[in-house]
């Protein structure tokens, strides 16, 4: 089965090609092909996953690799291949399955869309990108698939491009992530220049890392750094863009302009987690230097983003935007976890988050589909009309808020426990303390805004006249149910070993043993767990106090506005980051563009080009005259001479046999005459 790993991204790509080239007019067939291809990939992926679980011991420390020569680079061939290690395997468990659920969901959600087939083509290409990224065995391939996803993200955010906001959102996402990608590309090139390798197995070999950690790079006035730190920070730049971390987080909320399955697939479950995956994949590089600034940077960005995004989520009214900020916040958790070295916890949270966030997004899509609005202030009372959506949404909410025993509780708690453990080791003035503090606060806020969402959406009475909410079709609810099962139960794969009763019963944290047996397990800390449960339940309780006890009536403003005052405005405007970027980077870019334009069009380039053009025209005229007079004359003269000669010779070729015969006889006569005379 492992030998077939390379086929996993191929099937969705074939589906993309087939749909684009052949089956575009046939909607049913197109979606069937897309779903079928992902289903095949899913079966293959789970086969690979199961085999790597079963063969964990046999595989030993070595990852499975399969590669072929690809690009000739000087003296060697750059290989292209697949790489299956526990991290890839666990991603292969999650990605195709979530993709499949969302593909099925899309059949119902996109029903009746004029560009239905195209939608499936795009998401198939996206699936190819994500699966390829997961199995890639070198950084270059990873980058290629990374950019394929970026392209799909752009196309899908702007899928309804008739809406100017969607078009702009697509552009924003593309450009913002491009900033991060530029860093990543720089890091990749520097890495190649330093090591001559991009294959993971080689760049993460201990001797290579050793070399990178001990060679310094001089950055001028910034001082000098080990190469490993610099490369790690540059690659982290790519992750910041893709995973929408501060300060490149601005694109993700706007990306909600895309169809909801896209939000679920790309902007919650898979693509945005690719940034986290990248950092996890390059984790040996990040930890190559013990005391480097790179881990501190990662931890700070992650923890800050987690708290910062969750505060914004408090004041949003759009159901999908709340979830988008929640995604940013949760990705911050993962990044922060990686920053403090909690590799296993980060990957665990990545997997569980993918399931419950996909569930929440699909649930919100179902709500939007059923109620016809995205504004939570216009919803209310949907519990009665959409029971399945409500139930599954509740599961997702509990998972996200970290209510035991749902999946999010176990994974979030592992991050917090790791942070707590590290800060007790390092003292209170260390990164892990701030990470723990920020993440704990964020956990409270997460529970609160999710509670707010639940109460505003499903409880109380409808705040919109003539609302006829209805449950969504089965193709939408079934994926919700399946995902809800996973969101509820998946956490049991990572219950800490020392946890009373459950820990032993569930095999002593199999997730940790599978993904990160080389990392020591964090000891169970009852205090941390208690704090996190209190935070989760407390957040939900406060939400009930504010929104649940007395449901909002139609036209009644959000009670938070009064409670928070001007702070609410700041939060509602997302700390004015869009405006800030508008005023600084975008204006600067526009101003630069203006200057470049003027330089180009008015001052230097165009006049030069025009001058060159005029000179060229003048020269050409001269050349043309010379051509016509002398060259043409010569050519025509030769042709005329030859033509004249041909005409003369032509006279001899009469086509009459008798003429020829006469000449032949004459020749015979002459020859005979010669023989006679001589």
């Amino acid at each position: 089965m492992l030998n077939l790993t390379w086929l996993i991204p191929v099937f969705p790509f074939l589906a993309f090609v087939l749909i684009v080239l052949f089956t575009n007019p046939n909607k049913k067939l197109s979606s069937g092909i897309a779903i079928g291809s992902v289903a095949v990939s899913w079966v293959l992926s789970w086969g690979v996953f199961l085999q790597s679980i079963a063969g964990r011991i046999g595989m030993g420390e070595e990852a499975f690799r399969l590669h072929v020569p690809w690009l000739p680079t000087g003296t060697e061939w750059f290989p292209m291949g697949v790489n299956v290690d526990p991290l890839s395997a666990i991603m292969l468990f999650m990605v195709p399955f979530v993709c499949l659920m969302i593909f099925i969901y899309s059949v119902g959600y996109m029903h009746g869309d004029p560009r239905y087939s195209r939608f499936f083509a795009y998401i198939s290409l996206f699936a190819c990108g994500m699966l390829g990224l997961v199995v890639a065995d070198n950084l270059l391939m990873l980058f290629i698939f990374w950019e394929i996803m970026g392209l799909c993200s752009y196309l899908l955010i702007g899928f309804w491009f008739e809406k100017p906001s969607a078009m702009k959102a697509g552009l924003k996402a593309f450009l913002t992530t491009r900033v991060g990608d530029a860093f990543m590309l720089a890091g990749m090139l520097l890495l190649y220049s330093q090591t001559g390798e991009l294959t993971f197995a080689h760049i993460f070999a201990p001797e290579t890392l050793e070399k990178l950690a001990h060679s310094q790079v001089n950055l001028g006035f910034l001082g000098s750094l080990p190469w490993a730190s610099l490369l790690a920070m540059l690659i982290f730049g790519g992750a910041v863009g893709k995973s929408a971390q501060f300060p490149l987080h601005v694109w993700l909320p706007d990306a909600m302009e895309g169809p909801t399955p896209v939000s679920a697939l790309i902007h919650a479950a898979t693509m945005v987690s690719a940034g986290v995956y990248l950092v996890a994949r390059c984790f040996p590089l990040f930890t190559a230097v013990e005391a480097g600034p790179q881990l501190g940077l990662v931890a700070f960005i992650g923890a800050f983003t987690a708290l910062f995004a969750s505060t914004i989520a408090l004041a949003q009214d759009d159901i999908k935007r709340v979830l988008a900020y929640s995604t940013i916040s949760q990705l911050g958790y993962m990044i922060a976890a990686l920053g403090i070295g909690a590799y296993v916890a980060a990957v665990f949270h990545l997997i569980t988050h993918a399931f419950f966030k996909a569930l929440l997004f699909l649930g919100s899509g179902s709500v939007i589909h059923g109620s016809g609005t995205q504004d939570m202030m216009e919803m209310g009372g949907l519990r009665k009309h959409m029971p399945i959506t409500f139930a599954t949404f509740m599961v997702g909410t509990f998972a996200l808020a970290g209510v035991p025993p749902f999946a999010g509780f176990w994974s979030k708690d592992e991050i917090l426990a790791d942070a707590f453990h590290k800060f007790t080791e390092h003292g209170i003035a260390s990164w892990p303390f701030f990470v723990w503090l920020f993440l704990t606060l964020a956990a409270f806020l997460t529970a609160f805004y999710m509670g707010r969402q639940i109460f505003l959406t499903f409880y109380g009475e409808s705040r919109r006249p003539h609302a006829h909410a209805h449950e969504s079709p089965k193709s939408m609810t079934y994926p919700l149910i399946v995902l809800a099962v996973f969101a509820a139960l998946l956490g049991f794969a990572g219950v800490p070993e020392e946890f009373p009763v459950l820990g032993h019963l569930l095999g002593g944290n199999p997730f940790h043993h599978f993904v990160g047996h080389e990392f020591p397990a964090t000891p169970l800390n009852g205090l941390v767990m208690l704090i996190s449960v209190v935070m989760a339940l407390g957040g939900l309780f406060v939400a009930w106090l504010v929104y649940g006890r007395s449901p909002l009536k139609e036209g009644q403003p959000d009670p938070l506005i009064q409670a928070l005052g001007p702070v609410h405005t700041v939060l509602r405007r997302k700390y004015y980051f869009d405006e800030l970027y508008q005023a600084t980077f975008i204006r600067l870019a526009l101003w630069l563009s203006e200057i470049c334009f003027a330089f180009d069009n008015k001052w230097v380039v165009d006049p030069l080009v025009n001058l060159a053009g005029r000179a060229g025209v003048a020269l050409s005229d001269l050349g043309g005259w010379i051509d016509r007079t002398f060259v043409d004359g010569a050519v025509n003269g030769v042709a005329a001479v030859i033509g004249w000669m041909g005409g003369a010779l032509r006279q001899t070729q009469t086509g009459r046999v008798q003429n020829y015969l006469l000449v032949a006889v004459l020749a015979v006569f002459v020859l005979l005459l010669i023989s006679v005379v001589i």
Partner: protein, 163 residues
Amino acid sequence: MAQAIFIILSLITLGCALVVVTNRNLFHSALYLAFVFVGVAGLYFMLQAEFFAGIQVLIYVGAILTLIIFAIMLSRDLMNPNVRGFNRQWWAAAIVAGLLFVVLAVVLWRAPWPAAPVGEPSADFIAELGQALVSPAYVLPFEVVSILLLAALVGSILIARER
């Protein structure tokens, strides 16, 4: 005596041949051609090739000439004396042919030929000819000629048949 007969015969033959190629009227040409053939047969006779003289008369006069006359009859307007019978190079052709004859005659005249025949043909050389034709030496040309004749027969019918 023989020389006198030869000269007379040759002059008649060549004269008739000249008429054949210069007469405008093809029908007349054909009639004169018959005289040429008979004259040539006479020459054969003088060469003691009586058999050839016989088949010359039989085949040329009897078969080929008949065919030619048929062809002349089948194509109308050929005997019309108003139609130009010769092309524009006829004078050049005459000069070249004449010059060629002169050169050939000079060559033949100068060549050291034996004054008299080196021997006499056997009495029944016709029988010998017949045997020679089926002998290993000549059977192949003989058979090839027969095939050629068959092919010519079939080909002529095929070409000339009405479609």
